[in-house]
Symmetry: D2
Subunit: 222 residues, 4 copies
């Protein structure tokens, strides 16, 4: 984690520790390369989150409170997806198909007992999508972040934003396997680290630049 | 639509009109075969919903109010999915990739202006899943019903239930193409009408039989 | 195996024993239901082949020689495919990703040392495809039967036909999982036994009825 | 096309012109970057083939005859595949689902009237596969190059090698869309140009270095 030594406004980007038997997590591989980069007068600070239900949200919120970022973008691995997936919504349930890195496997457990069923991201996801496409980067809006630690963290983030600080923008993005991972997953699509890093820069710039979104059809029939 | 002539308790199952260039909608093909069937002392009544944003919810609610069903199960086509998909949640947004049958294409429009971002179904979806598997019917929990008319109707249903009548159970199920449709969609999976009809019976029985659910891991990592 | 007691002309349809950890093989489940059926004045005789490189071809040829069928149609399981797959060609190599039921795993071994690299089927595959589509059964031409026991048997069959008896027609068809199998393969497509049995009847009739094929585009760009 | 001005031994790598409505073909995008590169004392010469049944083979053979390459590696686009696909075999049939760039659409037409049904490549495909995996590049053996111009050219190449010059090694490799193409194909996987170029270098080195192959299981059950 970067220390908050400067008074410059910042953006927090998080990646995850490896899970599910992988040696690496492509989210942290890409995110750490952006540490201390400057995008539109904002310094990027980065954080590797534990892939654990019990600790990941508090880890994230501690860093938010010490850094007070303008934008929080959490990144996670979506093995099997082929595109940058910009998540639209986080839902208030943990339903883990496999154990997390601490050995926990919550099933049908609410993330926040009295929280609403879901929170939409407040990022300008359609502008982000459009900018990625203009940069020749395959991307889509996703309407589910799953029910594992990724969704868990996104829900925790949006719950915090809604409770504390309406001006902070936050959301979640899933990325494909790296090619080095796909080698071990017969037929799985992948995306190069360079493309992912470019995608992160493009999305952060859009998030900083826009307080409202455009209406571009990018839904699914099911 | 069946007339509410008897005093027998009932279950409402809806299907949709064809859309997106299809000649049929597998949901209505299957649902209409169950009309007036008796399952666990409940009569099945059925309704074909228009595939239209503007009219589908009010059509559904009118029939709910005239029939007062114990369970409402809405069924829709998910071309490209291979299994019975039991939807966990409906989200408060229309984002239509194609026009509906009335020519409307809402984009990033809330379904209920002051409604919450999402509603979980109150059906015992894990018991339904388990019972389908025990009946040798491929099925899964889905965490997104899309952003088209299916999600729209599910959101409208759950909004109505939450506003009016906590005792009514309701939810949404997506089904694959019929084989006759898959012939025209290169490589698309399908499910026979017989299997779909059996699946509907199995799910209705579970919905009638259970006021609480079991906790069985059936989530996704993304 | 059916005894060759009558003088009626016959069609031989084979299925396989289960392999790869499955409890059943959908090919034999469907094929055995057709035993002794009459299609166009031909009696169907059926045979369950071992899923073994060393014995399957000789099993098949023994039955061909005792029954002298007009058409030989071998059926195999293609878990993960969604359609009836009519195989166009068999290739002269075994490259087994998993052991067969006798524990053998040949890799890059020719099936016939001095055989040609491949044999096209001599079935009217485009007429069969067209007839399946007209019967509302999802189907496609496949240009690879893999490199496991299915391709092995198809190559052995076509090698025998080319060496011995140009008048006999033979080929191979892959079928999807049954629904009861797909339950155990997260997201895998399936096809009902009724649909598979209908497909077999449709294909046998076309094979008996046509000595030449029609030219209908059904290829792939890669 | 590069002129054959030097006496240095060479390797011929071909790409294709765009087809099927694409603005570019990733095969030629990558291949042209290698022109005049030296790999293991062999100069790379490159050629863009027309995506036309009538002219592509003669274009290829003219260049082979003027350059006398030690290895010929033909590259083509496989939109929808996620990996480098090393083709094992070419089959003696054109079955075009869409017209080629000259407006021709042969259906079930043999490529060589008196040619065998198929030819295996004589490249060391398992060593190439292993070397790609060791370089962290997703790759697989493919048992069908389709029935369009790619298979047509591979068949023409292997027919020429078998007729004329047993010492020349030749084969075909399919590559995914570039990211810039995948943007326009909802959900399609892609591979960066850098990764493809690296893959080509790795495969050429293996082809030059090995006159025999290793036996590594890399087949498919169907």
């Amino acid at each position: 984690m970067t220390k908050s030594t400067s008074s410059m406004a910042c953006v927090l980007i998080t990646g995850f520790a490896p899970f599910g038997g992988e040696a690496i997590n492509p989210s942290w591989q890409a995110v750490q390369k952006l540490d201390e980069t400057i995008i539109m007068k904002h310094k990027i600070c980065t954080l590797e989150l534990a892939c654990e239900f019990n600790t990941s949200i508090s880890q994230l919120i501690n860093t938010i409170e010490s850094h007070n970022p303008a934008v929080v973008l959490c990144i996670g691995q979506a093995g099997g997806r082929s595109e940058i997936s910009i998540e639209r919504i986080a839902i208030n349930v943990d339903d883990a198909r496999i154990k997390d890195n601490a050995g926990n496997q919550p099933v049908d457990t609410p993330i926040e007992k009295n929280g609403p069923d879901a929170y939409f991201t407040n990022l300008p996801i359609k502008r982000m999508l459009q900018a990625l496409h203009n940069s020749n980067i395959p991307a889509a809006i996703s309407n589910t972040a799953g029910t594992y630690v990724c969704n868990h963290v996104m829900y925790g983030l949006m719950h915090y934003i809604n409770d504390h600080c309406a001006v902070m923008k936050g959301g979640f993005v899933h990325i494909p396997y790296l090619p080095s991972q796909a080698v071990h997953h017969n037929g799985a699509p992948s995306m190069s680290e360079e493309t992912v890093i470019n995608a992160l820069k493009v999305m952060v710039a859009q998030a900083l630049n826009n307080n409202s979104d455009v209406k571009i059809a990018a839904g699914t029939t099911h």
